[in-house]
Amino acid sequence: MNFEHTDDRRMLADTLVRALRDGYAIDTRNAGAYSEAGYDPAVWQQLNELGIVSALFDEAAGGFGGSGFDIMVVFEALGRALVVEPFLGALMAGRALAAGGGHDDTLAGIVSGETIAAFAQDDGATPVTATKSGDGWTLSGTKAVVAQADAASVFVAVVEQDGDPLVLLVPADTAGVSVRSYNIVEGGAAGDVTFDGVTLGADARVGGEGQGQAIVDAAVGAGLLALSAEAVGAMEFVKEATLGYLRDRKQFGVPIGKFQALQHRMATVLLEIEQAQSAVINAASAFDGDDAKARARALSAAKYTIGRTGALVAEESIQLHGGIGMTWEYAVSHYAKRLVMIDHQLGDEDFHLQRYIALG
């Protein structure tokens, strides 16, 4: 048992953190995040030159990493800088394709960063149904709030066929596919993706017959780990910013960090962030393990933990800052929004607590 990263992984993390700190200031981020596209294509290209996506995949899939701890360090770094470019879609869509096998060209495009992909998950509220037609399928229905839907040139969509999940690769320019795009609260873009009688051939299926659930588990598992790590990265930034403010801001003639009422709140924030970090380490460790149930439980435990702690850190950091924490101009407000809204992605804290219990 040890808690040190390998040299390679530490180097990856250091490189990424430094590159983002130097080249991805909050103004740069916000210019992309609140633009119509919800990200900056030029920045996306620059970041990809660092090989970020390749780090999320193993050699068989064309990458150079791909373990749970690789996903952890990459997304912690992305979260710390509040990166809004479509890395989550690349991870989830790519992991689905890698799990299913085939579609090698699309996977290669995703791993190299040339292809922007979105993972259109079935959250149960808006099932898209597939009906058999010839060798392939006809799709109808709408996927809600698909991250970076407008930017994506391919969708990996989870649809329902006779009650079972079916994973399909759908190019965005397929006839009958339309996207209603919008910005999201914390910056970035998403869209409702409508499939109106979309016809797909047999080759659209990701994986073999009956593999749908396993592919969904692979993709969503990676996504849960990534979101949990991203949240911890964002928490670390917010913690440092809030501590800085407690030291600098003076009222009643002293730094406000001298007041015990604020110190104790900050100590609690620190403790809970450490616990969240541990939850992500547990999840990254189980992610690579052989025990499917332990993996699923650890992922739900992590997402539950960061959902709860994310809201705590967001709310406490705003309160500890006072009015300045409420302003658009100040970086913490955007982090706080992300930390709260991350609970709305891939199942919230209640969902994952229930899942954790059901798996017990």
Binding site: M1, N2, F3, P255, G257, A276, Q277, N282, S285, A301
Partner: protein
């Protein structure tokens, strides 16, 4: 990063498990599992078994009788110990005084006192708190005035845990009343049989006599029993407290008591089904279980970060707060789990050796007293609020 045990750690764990299986008397593990109060002889019996194997003081250096374990080995041992329902090691000599003597004691003191801690010749208790010095520990008023070869001690200590069994007490005393309060304190070892010492029991909220008041009237203590230098006792006192707090995290105890809670939740019924299947209770249990799994990793991260395997500094305050919150929550859920049968108060049922007929489910009598007793966790060893002060200053730099 790798959370799985290495083959060496696995085989160490097997060795530890085999030891508990072969050497832990069933009578003792049953008492611990049922949450009964142990007698002095029970605790001494277990200490002797551990000492025979060389595992009693598992964080001491090998030179002084420690086994030379890594932090991970100690963690494994503590976990397995709790899971096997072994009695706790009584901390005052082994975990508190031992490290202070090893770091600050003279050669003669180490040679004299350390073996006596191991072989059980001396039962130690802790003379820190006073009626007027709780959270403000440095405000203590018990005085020691040097007269020739002795210090003459006057004053009062309180909350002295298991002091009724003790042969010796390590005490913080004021040797320089004129100095700033932290700078006039010394660390003295005092024989409990000295003339002028009186021990009075304090009965706690659960009816147990676990703690005492200790009064000192013109008690003479040989100068040789001063640890380190006169007036530097506060440094030694704080060093001791970091050890005390790390142990308070009690991850192993939480794991064992959570396992017990799961069993109770399976057998207790609510609305015609097992309590474990009640969605609200299941959610309460799942929350604390996740917190505990996170805590286990937090604990290991803190220990792994300590170079040389000593005691962590202010990070032990984080472990203390979160660890005690979790332990308290588990005792709270266990109390709730027994429903109305948590109410009957059967003091004799709490004692080791009682063979009467249970009222309600087995062990129900222990649930509420244990919950109330464990309110102490967030108070002693420096209250959790004091820990937050320490975190603010030492970790957050506020």
């Amino acid at each position: 990063m790798d959370l799985s045990f290495t083959p060496e750690e696995e085989s160490f764990r097997d060795e530890v498990r085999a030891f508990f299986r072969d050497k832990l008397p069933a009578r003792l593990s049953t008492l611990v599992r049922e949450g009964k109060r142990l007698r002095k002889s029970d605790m001494e019996e277990w200490h002797a078994i551990l000492n025979e194997r060389g595992w009693l003081a598992n964080h001491w250096p090998e030179e002084w009788g420690g086994p030379g374990w890594s932090v991970i080995q100690r963690f494994i041992f503590d976990n397995e110990s709790a899971l096997a329902h072994a009695p706790r090691v009584v901390p005052f000599g082994v975990n508190m005084l031992g490290p202070v003597l090893i770091k600050y004691g003279s050669e003669e003191q180490k040679k004299h006192w350390l073996p006596r801690i191991l072989d059980g010749s001396d039962w130690w208790c802790q003379g820190y708190s006073e009626p007027g010095a709780g959270s403000d520990l440095a405000g203590l008023k018990t005085t020691a005035v040097r007269k020739g070869d002795v210090y003459v001690v006057n004053g009062q200590k309180t909350w002295t845990t298991l002091g009724q069994h003790a042969d010796m007490i390590f005490c913080l005393v004021r040797t320089d009343p004129a100095a700033k309060k932290q700078e006039g304190i010394s660390f003295l070892l005092i024989d409990m049989k000295s003339p002028g010492i009186e021990v009075r029991p304090i009965t706690l909220i659960d009816g147990e006599q676990e703690v005492n008041e200790v009064f000192f009237t013109d008690v003479e203590v040989p100068v040789a029993n001063l640890v380190g230098e006169e007036n530097l006792g506060w440094t030694y006192a704080k060093y001791l407290l970091t050890y005390e707090r790390t142990n308070i995290a009690g991850v192993g105890f939480s794991i064992a008591s959570f396992e017990r809670l799961k069993e109770v939740a399976q057998t207790q019924k609510k609305g015609g089904r097992a309590l474990a299947d009640d969605p609200l209770f299941a959610a309460r249990m799942a929350r604390v279980e996740i917190d505990l799994a996170n805590m286990q990793t937090t604990n290991l991260r803190v220990l792994a970060a300590v170079a040389g395997g000593g005691a962590p500094g202010a990070e032990s305050s984080m472990l203390k707060i979160k660890g005690t919150e979790i332990r308290q929550e588990i005792t709270s859920l266990t109390r709730r789990a027994y429903g109305s049968y948590a109410a009957p108060y059967i003091p004799e049922a709490l004692e080791a050796g009682w063979n009467g007929e249970d009222v309600g489910p087995e062990d129900a009598a222990m649930a509420a007293p244990s919950y109330f007793n464990n309110r102490k966790l967030s108070i002693f060893g420096g209250s959790n609020e004091i820990q937050k002060n320490i975190i603010s200053k030492a970790i957050l730099g506020l």
